[in-house]
């Protein structure tokens, strides 16, 4: 009887040698006369265990990891007696303590296999949406409490309602897959491990607002995600889930895949739209909102990958089921990405409201270096650095807002006690200087001046005066910038000054 062997093919697993492990498994199995069926699945997101090989025996899947080429021969011999044996993946506390909704399917099978997707309730949400009037779809999304997962947390239902109610010959759905925040990889993992869920969510959005064209704007730093999405779109089209006459109805939705070109600012929605239109990614002044005048001047839904993916869950399982998770006004699940100096890094999906400390200690297992944690940056390069006194803050939008921090896209980057917070503050300004679109002065010039001022502080040149100057500069950038890039860059700088002042001379 042949064994089914799963070896993840996602970027991180491959970066840790999964392709070589897969090759070795095939060679070793052939040498042993063992018949195996190799499946390149997506990753389940436990990156600390990658490459995590799973072997299915008598209908049960057992996990092993992290597997190197050198382990392959003994692994095939000893299997569950092997030292790398983890048991069934689902039984590991790291997985069983999570609430997987958006990432329920990730890593279970071949991400491009449509039958696999269908066997796990794939396209159930689309099926339901195809038989509902647009208003009812929008209402369902509104009642679910779903908020934008890109960082701004704007209620999705309200955005969609605006697009639905704006009359136009042509409307667009745009997926923001320009996941540029350091410490985040949830969008990438979803696109590489469960791409049909995104396609389904975008199609539901199109039905909800009356759009017939859609774009995925994917960053060029994700070549594997490009490859998977490109194939997934073609397969979905061939199977009648995209294009003219979706699922034998009179509805149509054409989905295009576009590649960014290495500009962080294009994750800002108006800059992204400029880029899609073939221009420099310069931020637009709002209003008009993209929901009213978006891509090519038409009403446009711009949503993050995870938001659109969650839409298919909401439609399949109902608004109430989705809203039953979470706390306060942060409903549903939060996908946290444990990154940086972390022992057990990866994707953790939990209901909103878990304290940060529990996340980093229980899921993350502390630092990779084994040294004490000193600072945690949450929410990407524009998010604050949190000192230990703030680690009991619950992971929800309002609680983080209350301590001048933000959840953003859910990136959690851990630093040990060797970090120099003055250097981190300097980098925040430097990054803004490199990536500013240049349209507004506070961001374009302020970031350059910010680097200079911090350099003076580091060189101990009239430190007190320079710190006052730096704080004033932060206020100017915050109040005078056109978008979140310049407006939020002072956050990591201020938090470093406020909570780690000992690093500033």
């Amino acid at each position: 009887m042949s064994l089914r062997v799963f070896v993840p093919g996602d970027t991180t697993a491959v970066a840790l040698g999964a392709d070589k492990v897969a090759q070795a498994l095939e060679q070793e199995a052939a040498a042993k006369g063992l018949e195996i069926e190799l499946v390149r699945n997506g990753s389940r997101g436990a990156f600390w265990l990658e490459p995590m090989v799973e072997i299915e025996e008598q209908g049960e899947r057992f996990a092993y990891g992290p597997v190197t080429v050198a382990d392959v021969a003994s692994l095939l011999d000893k299997r569950q007696q092997h030292p790398l044996s983890l048991g069934a993946a689902e039984t590991l506390p790291w997985f069983s303590n999570q609430t997987r909704m958006t990432f329920a399917r990730a890593g279970l099978g071949d991400p491009l296999c449509l039958d696999h997707y269908l066997s796990l309730h794939g396209f159930d949400g689309l099926d339901r949406a195809l038989h509902l009037p647009p208003e009812d779809i929008v209402d369902e999304i509104t009642r679910s409490g779903l908020r934008g997962r890109g960082g701004a947390a704007f209620p999705t239902g309200i955005k969609w309602k605006t697009v639905l109610e704006t009359p136009a010959q042509q409307k667009y759905i745009v997926c923001n897959a320009d996941e540029g925040d350091s410490g985040t990889f949830a969008d990438r993992l979803l696109m590489e491990s469960d791409p049909y869920q995104l396609i389904e969510g975008m199609t539901i959005a199109a039905l909800a607002v009356g759009a017939t064209e859609g774009y995925i704007y994917l960053r060029s730093e994700y070549p594997k995600a490009w490859d998977v999405l490109h194939k997934a779109i073609a397969k979905a089209e061939a199977a009648g889930y995209l294009g003219e006459g979706i699922c034998d109805t009179d509805k149509s939705f054409h989905l295009h895949l576009r590649m960014g070109a290495g500009a962080y600012i294009c994750g800002e929605e108006t800059s992204l739209l400029e880029s899609l239109e073939g221009r420099r990614g310069m931020v637009r002044v709002k209003p008009p909102l993209p929901a009213i005048e978006g891509l090519f001047g038409k009403p446009t839904v711009v949503n993050n990958v995870l938001t659109l993916a969650a839409v298919s869950t909401v439609m399949a399982e109902g608004a109430e089921t989705y809203a039953s998770q979470g706390s306060g006004r942060s409903l549903g699940t939060l996908t946290v990405q444990l990154a940086g100096n972390i022992a057990r890094g990866g994707l953790v999906e939990v209901p909103y409201g878990l304290p940060l400390r529990q996340l980093v200690e229980e899921f993350g297992g502390g630092t990779h270096s084994g040294r004490p944690v000193r600072a945690i940056q949450v929410g990407g390069p524009l998010g604050a650095y949190l000192p230990e006194a703030q680690w009991d803050t619950a992971l929800d939008y309002e609680a983080f807002g209350a301590i001048s921090a933000m959840l953003g896209h859910g990136g959690v980057v851990v630093f040990d006690d060797t970090v120099d917070m003055a250097q981190q503050a300097r980098f925040a300004m430097e990054f803004c200087a490199v990536e500013s679109c240049g349209k507004c002065t506070p961001c374009r010039i302020g970031s350059v001046r910010g680097v200079e001022v911090i350099d003076k502080i580091i060189a101990r040149e009239s430190t007190e005066q320079q710190i006052t100057l730096l704080r004033e500069l932060g206020d100017t950038m915050e109040q005078g910038s056109l978008c979140a890039m310049g407006g939020l860059t002072p956050n990591p700088v201020r938090s470093a000054l406020d909570h780690f002042s000992e690093d500033f001379g």
Binding site: V14, E221, G262, A339, V413
Partner: protein
């Protein structure tokens, strides 16, 4: 095939596409390795844009090159998650080992070194991308081995 013909082919593929300039520039760079200055007027005319507009787009995005690069592109991630795992030292090591700064190509034309801000591999930092392959948990020794492999392939 002369490069003009190649550029014309790319133009043909994307001129009718709404907002097709970025895909067009990507296609040109994919084939030629860079976007020659001399291609700008042709592209501008075909896309009904001014030369300044096309130049503006090329110069805005980090990905687009106006000069040929090396046989291979090595990108070191400079973002925070990688910093937390020692990427600052790795960057310095790469520059020293290759004897070039960011944006430069080695004397033998083998390698162009570039910074990158996040490869989405942040749970297993530091990350390095070589052409289309991402490598995880890269330290100075693994980087040296990867660079040696590249040099061997290029020769």
């Amino acid at each position: 095939m002369p490069y003009r013909q190649l550029v014309d082919d790319c133009i043909e593929r994307f001129r009718a596409e709404p907002g097709g300039l970025l895909p067009l520039l990507h296609a040109v760079q994919e084939i030629l390795g860079y976007i020659p200055e001399t291609a700008v007027p042709t592209i501008a005319q075909a896309m009904n844009l001014s030369r300044a507009e096309v130049h503006g787009v090329i110069s805005f995005y980090h990905d687009f090159r106006t000069r040929p690069g090396g046989h291979h592109t090595v990108q070191i991630c400079r973002a925070e998650a990688c910093q937390a795992m020692g990427s600052r030292a790795l960057e310095a090591h790469a520059k020293q080992a290759l004897e070039i700064d960011y944006g430069e190509t080695t004397q033998d034309g083998a390698i162009t070194l570039e910074p990158v801000y996040c490869l989405g591999n942040c749970a297993c930092s530091p990350s390095v991308r070589i052409d289309d392959d991402v490598h995880a948990r890269v330290d100075a020794a693994t980087l040296d081995a990867l660079l040696a492999d590249l040099r061997e392939i290029s020769q």
